[in-house]
Symmetry: C2
């Protein structure tokens, strides 16, 4: 229901809601793609606004657009940037592979809002969606550029700060747990001792490397397609346009962008998005490792490894009273599963590069941005509700290690591998500790035995090693 | 802001919005999982309502629940089934891996609504979320059961009808195009002739097999975990409970469900969801093949293969006036990329099966249901806006085939592979057709040549073959 206005495009007339800023091509896209509730992320719409605003400035400065029109476009584009027109972007991500429907949606919204600002009626195209708002542009260069901007900005503003918090939390625990010696585990079997702080130091370093990977993802996203227009040749675009536009946007976002070295590479394919997604997936693998280790280290409370205690956040079970579960870590691992799946979607999308255009841009955008946002929220929540509140179970760590057979490893260099293995077998059979059996059998003088069987010494055989995670 | 009430659970007190039907555990989950905008699909919430309603009936019939309470639960659960309480399910999918937060959310909403129906105040637990609504259940059996119900019902109600329409549309085109002979293509290189109807008949058969695959997915989903409670042993559950509940739900949904043959298999892992997702991914591969073939067959309009014309749905380009693109097919291929990625997420989730419980149920549910819904919407849209309106370009098909060198293949059985190859090479060099060169060189009598070089005959060498897609 509701009042409508009639708009036309090259295919004919269509009714558009009277109060909508979007126009006929958006209306066609709504009709053509009734597929899902998935919409272009806010960050991409924001980036579209940034591009259209900077484009109007640059086109004016190049003498291609009147000041009156440029000013109106800049005002309307600012509203798109700020999100006040978000309700005007109803197009499904499962649309045309170039994202033309989203580009035209943006052009129409800015055209109608700018027209209104100049006193014209919606649909009258005083500021034209193609001739003015899209001037010097094509969906084929604008949409991949917007995706690069959105992804890099979201990494910068959301993901890196969250990872930094997580890295700091892990490094702090590494220092806090630096005195706690525990059993090491390889193949899930008891191995030689490590300090709990060393384990957490390893996690902290994983996230430190994760932050570096995110900077590499930003680097991969820094070259943009803008300036190539329809097929990479830059037809209908001023040669200085892209450089000038991207200088403005780099300044506005604080992220590094530059015109692509080769426009055919930059818009006929999107290997850069595939690479960025690969970096995100790597981070998901790091987080999975950390979250799983922490779930297992905290397993119990009575019948598990129980070397650490996680902060309690909610009752765990609908049927088992008093049970508490590592729910925050589980939530992190589910985010990682999603990111790993999203990466496959981005990869399949990257393979849809046909001649001058890759035709899965919207689904690549959606999945990449979802991965960035999920990893940001999950990393922050992991730090805040789990890592920062972890307590070590020092007694448990100590008693497990004393009982472990792996202690015999430290004797091997002096009594030989075979003799040490025999000693471990004997301890295993008798239920005694390695220390007890070694003493009984007097394999070495008491003092030397105490030195070698000092678990702390085993965690730092060559003097202090990097364990506090920077 | 807004008024609140204080509720308590085993971990203490918490404020809950006064007007909310959900309770303290839901409130904790909202606080604990501020990760994403992704929520449990409507179909899963509906299935939760179906389970809680049938559970109340069965518990009453087994003498475990008073009629008054059972009636109130049934009424409240019906509202959950119908969706009028959807606003009461605010919990993120990135939560506890068992979905306990969603189960407790459901228990709380039904508890409070049922309490209200009996004249009690919200939070007073006249009908208790654990003791009454969750009676004989655990999240660990209810949540996987709800996922099975939701997936099977959505396959039945949305996906199979869409595929049926698509299959019919393709089969109709197969009949319509049965007379149109065209070049076959293998390795993207000209091969011997086929009829356009045969190609479409192949597509129709792919979708027919796709429907069979969806029935197999339903079969994979038919065994449910209900009755196993916390760890598969069925502690605190009446032995007849699950069988009776699933009989009711099978009748209500028209889908086949039965209690699992082995409850440890059914809830300590979810291979069934992984299998179902694999069937969906297979369908995505079928649809990708069809959508891509159709994009290429329709490529042009002047400089491509141009053997078919797709219906025009919207202007294709923001910069190239008059261009029209195969946007519906592109939208289908993007859906397929999403489904292929979702399948990986479900697979990673399936690997998170630890001892008595798999701990990635919510993310598996979300991705599986998204895949089903996307494939349903995309298949229907593909049929309606693309396949049903395809026209053959008969002249183009005919002229390409006459020019093709692959025609020589039909001569090989009579003149030998070597001689036929020489003939094709001569045609290639001279720019003549195979027919012209064969006549000039009189390799066979005119009449026999006409018989062998009849492209139609080449498409049906042994008499009629199944090409009309059933
Ligand atoms: O919510 C439940 O019923 C069980 C959860 C658990 O196994 O901890
Ligand atoms: O929307 C465009 O600018 C171009 C689309 C296309 O290449 O067809």
């Amino acid at each position: 229901g509701g009042a409508t206005r009639i708009e036309r495009d090259t295919m004919g007339e269509l009714a558009v809601p009277a109060e909508a800023y979007y126009g006929v091509q958006t209306a066609r896209a709504i009709e053509n793609f009734p597929i899902s509730p998935l919409r272009m992320p806010r960050s991409v719409i924001r980036a579209m606004g940034l591009i259209k605003r900077a484009a109007a400035s640059v086109n004016q400065s190049l003498g291609l657009l009147e000041k009156r029109q440029a000013d109106a476009i800049k005002q309307a584009a600012t509203e798109v940037v700020e999100g006040t027109l978000d309700g005007e972007f109803p197009v499904d991500i499962f649309q045309t592979g170039s994202g033309t429907s989203t580009n035209m949606n943006t052009n129409e919204v800015i055209s109608n809002r700018a027209t209104e600002l100049l006193g014209g009626a919606r649909g009258s195209k005083l500021v034209h969606p193609n001739d003015h708002v899209n001037l010097g542009q094509s969906s084929n260069d604008v949409i991949p550029t917007a995706i690069h901007i959105a992804a890099s900005e979201t990494i910068q503003r959301q993901l890196i700060p969250s990872l930094t918090r997580l890295q700091k939390a892990l490094a702090k625990k590494a220092r806090e747990f630096d005195k706690i010696v525990k059993i090491g585990r390889t193949h899930l079997q008891d191995a030689t001792p490590v300090r709990l702080g060393q384990e957490f130091g390893g996690y902290a370093r994983q996230i430190e490397l994760g932050i570096a990977r995110m900077r590499r993802a930003q680097e991969a996203l820094s070259e943009v397609a803008l300036g190539g227009t329809a097929v990479g040749t830059g037809l209908n675009c001023h040669p200085q346009f892209a450089r000038k536009v991207m200088a403005i946007i780099s300044k506005e976002t604080g992220c590094p962008f530059k015109e692509a070295a080769n426009h055919f590479e930059a818009q006929s394919a999107q290997d850069s998005l595939v690479e960025a997604s690969g970096e995100l997936r790597t981070l998901a693998v790091s987080l999975t490792k950390i979250a799983n280790d922490i779930r297992w280290l905290g397993s119990g409370p009575r019948c598990g490894l129980g070397e650490i205690n996680l902060p309690e956040t909610q009752p765990g079970s609908s049927i088992m009273p008093g049970k508490v579960n590592p729910v925050i870590a589980e939530s992190v691992t589910m985010v990682c599963a999603q990111v790993i799946g999203n990466d496959v979607t981005v990869t399949v999308g990257g393979q849809a590069a046909n001649f001058e255009l890759i035709v899965m841009l919207p689904v690549m955008a959606y999945n990449l941005l979802q991965s960035i946002e999920l990893l940001a929220a999950a990393s922050n929540n992991f730090a805040a509700k789990c890592i920062e509140g972890i307590k070590a179970n020092e007694e448990r760590c100590k008693s497990l290690i004393e009982e472990s057979l792996a202690m015999c490893t430290a004797l091997a260099p002096e009594i030989g591998y075979e003799a040490a293995a025999k000693l471990a077998k004997e301890a295993y059979k008798s239920g005694k500790t390695v220390r007890q059996v070694a003493r009984e059998q007097k394999v070495l003088p008491e003092k030397r035995l105490a030195e070698l069987l000092d678990p702390w010494r085993m965690t730092e055989p060559g003097g202090p090693v990097g364990s506090a995670g920077g």
